[in-house]
Symmetry: C3
Subunit: 490 residues, 3 copies
Amino acid sequence: MNATAGQGWSLHPDRALPADGGIREVARTIFDATRTLPIVSMHGHVDAGLLADDAPYADPASLLVTPDHYLVRMLVSQANAPGPVRDAGVRSAADLGAGDGGSTERDPRTIWRRFCAGWPALRATPTRYWLEHVLVEVFEAPVRPSPDTADALYDHIADRLAQPDYRPRALFERFGIELLATTDAAASSLADHRRLAADGWGTRVVPTFRPDPLFEIARPGWAGELAALSDAAGVDAHDYDGFLDALRARRRSFIAAGARATDHGHLLADTTPLAAEDVRRLFDAARRGSARPEDARAFTAHMLFQMAEMSSEDGLVMQLHPGVLRDYDGARAERLGHDLGYDIPVATEFTRSLRPLLEAFGHHPRFRLIVFTVDEDVYSRELAPLAGVYPALRLGAPWWFLDTPDAMRRFREAVVDTAGFYNTSGFVDDTRAFCSIPARHDLSRRIDAGFLGRLVAEHRLDLDEAVATAVDLAQTLPRQSYPAPDGAAA
Amino acid sequence: MNATAGQGWSLHPDRALPADGGIREVARTIFDATRTLPIVSMHGHVDAGLLADDAPYADPASLLVTPDHYLVRMLVSQANAPGPVRDAGVRSAADLGAGDGGSTERDPRTIWRRFCAGWPALRATPTRYWLEHVLVEVFEAPVRPSPDTADALYDHIADRLAQPDYRPRALFERFGIELLATTDAAASSLADHRRLAADGWGTRVVPTFRPDPLFEIARPGWAGELAALSDAAGVDAHDYDGFLDALRARRRSFIAAGARATDHGHLLADTTPLAAEDVRRLFDAARRGSARPEDARAFTAHMLFQMAEMSSEDGLVMQLHPGVLRDYDGARAERLGHDLGYDIPVATEFTRSLRPLLEAFGHHPRFRLIVFTVDEDVYSRELAPLAGVYPALRLGAPWWFLDTPDAMRRFREAVVDTAGFYNTSGFVDDTRAFCSIPARHDLSRRIDAGFLGRLVAEHRLDLDEAVATAVDLAQTLPRQSYPAPDGAAA
Amino acid sequence: MNATAGQGWSLHPDRALPADGGIREVARTIFDATRTLPIVSMHGHVDAGLLADDAPYADPASLLVTPDHYLVRMLVSQANAPGPVRDAGVRSAADLGAGDGGSTERDPRTIWRRFCAGWPALRATPTRYWLEHVLVEVFEAPVRPSPDTADALYDHIADRLAQPDYRPRALFERFGIELLATTDAAASSLADHRRLAADGWGTRVVPTFRPDPLFEIARPGWAGELAALSDAAGVDAHDYDGFLDALRARRRSFIAAGARATDHGHLLADTTPLAAEDVRRLFDAARRGSARPEDARAFTAHMLFQMAEMSSEDGLVMQLHPGVLRDYDGARAERLGHDLGYDIPVATEFTRSLRPLLEAFGHHPRFRLIVFTVDEDVYSRELAPLAGVYPALRLGAPWWFLDTPDAMRRFREAVVDTAGFYNTSGFVDDTRAFCSIPARHDLSRRIDAGFLGRLVAEHRLDLDEAVATAVDLAQTLPRQSYPAPDGAAA
């Protein structure tokens, strides 16, 4: 960025392109071919209700600060250290409006001031990079955040939020989004998607089938999940065969609502199926509340194999992203809720884990598996070699903690050699921060342009090929990786 | 490359050198010092019979497409996706002539057309980089592959293959190969090497002793391997002492045929020796067909220790490259044969695994161990610290999936700090694609020139030192790392 | 460097800055803001007696060669290979004065000549980089080491060592060291620190509390360690409660002597506490000599948790650096002594291991944990996500084998995205080579300037922010990460 007091604030047109002069010029040419392409956002967490309601956003803090738990976690991580964050009064997430309890800050302007004061803590993070884009490109912010500018910025954004052009659907149009996939529980009524369809938005916003809690039989909430699934599917899911039938029924409902994919996030990537009698025994033990941890892991693995089988039948793309220890901090998970910054990656094995699934379905002409990881070690060692041989497998984009300029570059450097470009799935933003979607796709296209630009500058690829590849990465591959199942509403 | 229609096709002289202007100029100077040095190819899979027969190659497809399973796997990985590969009619390896069965394509021109159509799928892969070199530098191809150029290219290459200058021995001379090591089963008759020796090529093409199947006592073929070993060695290998004697005898025969090294590729790097009574018990159990998987692993580890001991006696260099799960896809392995694209790496431990061997032989003045990995994680964590202290240990070049421009650069960046340059073994091409050998060595020298050029440009090394180092990496270290054993034929 | 015969030897002012012209210029500006800042050296192994005695150094070899086991190990690793090291007569560490026994070389000039002959083996290593700085900047060496210059260099340095300006305290002043932390056994008398305090140096050189051997109950020396602890603390440490009391007492003594931190280097990062009865049972078993390996690991983990609890009470910063298999080579450890080059890293888990400690103390306002690793894999996968959420946790600098130009760059690239700059602790030199301290801090500042310069050149950070960040990394963060405990002598 360039921020000169009194002259406004603008983003540099070459931001996030390689600094080297020779590469930058080529990268700029490549980026020009993709910068205005529509956004295909096939894996994210935007709330469908946001677009169904199309209500104005409330205020800058509840839009940009409190719900962004990656911003909140970074500010909280500085709460004990002398410095601007602590000086601004941040001791815990509650001081930024997150979590509940009597001490939670409720005044949006106070929260906004704390965020502005803590701006230096975000230096060089992707959170900062995306926020700059949101502030400048979406809200025309005139100055960068600081204690001195906090109030003016707040007022500036609040003013924009009151205008019709800043409502969610207007932004959706302005952002150039072609297709947005949300993430939805298996038992979801999909009511918001029906409302969207009624307004003619059914082919622009589609659900994704995410049944994770149903496959975790040792968790306290499992019985409730079964009941909800039974209700939603209109099939009694309390024995194993009914459970499979109910899942198939829900997948059909999702397909009818436009879904392209399923999504699975368990600790392990294991996909070993169980013998029929063994899975029935486990299911019944779980029903009696006596499933052991090893039973739970075996059941999850078995169900991932079942999901692959169902996908090979109904055409939903299967997405897998294992390797994160959820709710790492028990006390915080209880207080703040699930998945709010305390999910921490662990080393994750894919080669042996995916073997049963890939031997069975890896060459199936109707099956598509997209695998994500937050363990960079497996890129060159396991995932690229697998994606470079199995027609069914594509590598998902760098995800979560790896969705950053340097990590996206490392992803390309580690996988393209062995997997090529065309066994990757295209960028996914994986975000619930709707306003940040263009920033994230823009950044991804810049990094890919830089990577391709280097290949051209090193005479490893011709410029025409690099431009064609960039367009494929931004548009062809996400469209092609998530095709509409045959029976889809369209 | 530069490919302008009508103007022929040439490779850019600066290809694969760093794009940065300051570094590139230095790198070019460094590369100039190594570009025409002879090739010392100490670890590969060229068939000795190819050079013993010296017959003309049959056609472009059976030379460059069908046997290159890394080309085949990449094209097949695109078989289910809309795009040029599928459009060209590739559904499986059989469509490229690989595998057997009634449906296997036999027409070389059809196979060649499919390859040319699938060319875009290879963008940025090392396969593409090497093929460009082969096409342009070896066969003077006038245009790059595409559906439009396929037939002309085919005819062009077929015409060259009919000329005496394109027979294997003529190419060997043209490539400037000083020494080529093949890989040979322990029970090999070494007949092809004898034919080469009879023609005066015995000091240019030498065998390598690879006894892997003999050390896998739980595999179905083990009994047959023992019988073959007994026959070849003229020693009954059906009890453990005879087994060791037969191995020693075969090693002597290999040394007499010019061998410099042994080569060992098992799943684990474990080198723990067993007590004498334990190994005899395991051997006898295996003879009865009752060896368990853990017995098999223990026996493999024990035999690696024995190989180190024998190497310290007879002077054969020991090469170790663990960490690949072979024949990952059971159905494909049965249909296509072994090691044809479905070998996938796994995380591999070296520190604890090599300890018994290194404690016993790591300072032995006659012992040399060269270790390869496809798990990049161990470069800086395990292998560089080990190579930086044990006189017997050298790190092998980046191998297999890591034999690529970016991975070769990462190798130097990860190991030179701790291991220095002089504890690495020099480049090995590890290929069965004879015509690609110059391309691979040329690329390796370019990457090393780029790495050294950066050190010079960052004032971390003087130019004269960088040039001397580059020559050592290309020539001194491979020669020195694989010395002729004392008793070698010479 | 630039070394032109006859013109002296000087270090290039831009050394270790990025080669790219655009980045380098920015990096130079950033580096200029930190190059003369005082050195805050909070984690090292300089012998306090060196500064307490302030005696002249004996000779160049015993200063720069023999005690630098990373220099010695690299030269020894070349002992079996044809080349300059072997030609100079190096067969083992004894030939460089290291280890004991009848054959150990005692003539410093001979040792120095061997080092100078072996200089090429150090190309591109950090040892070489630091030595150049020491030779040129500290000792004004006129020529680089080589067989031809060895004697002149020896005489030149020996002449300097005889001058008062080259005594340890004079060098300390010249180096601009603000604060130096040593590493001291829990039972240390801290006599050298008392002598320093008596000379007014007590606030410039402070001890660090390192109780490792006390937490390894299965090691032969444990009983002796308990006795020494009891004596030093004046508390009977032979039952578990007394053991804790004695540790608390020693921590108080260290705090009184100016200590800022504790330091813990065990194989694992596990911090699982034991129930009271279990730990008493283990302690008593250990007293009887019957602790099993798994008991020892459980006790170590328990004690790390106790150390965190004590730190939350007394304010000593807790430093953790697991993951190294010590004394890898049994025979060498016995002959050469401990920790002399044969310590080799292993893969190390942090996410699950630190969980008990972080759940209990990760948000404690008085607790500070600094974690180091030699396993780069965990940077982006485990440590950055943890440091980016827990206020108590900071990432230590790249350490030991990772304290190199390229590895320091990789550290920033891997962690800053998720942890930011301000959850890192600043550089630590971790060295016993006193004269190399300025070289190490200088190099670290150059690498950080290069990293920040790239962010500026890629328009991801403004120059003013980059300069401020560089100063914080060099000065603010090390000061702030190691605050004086409340009860500290000051």
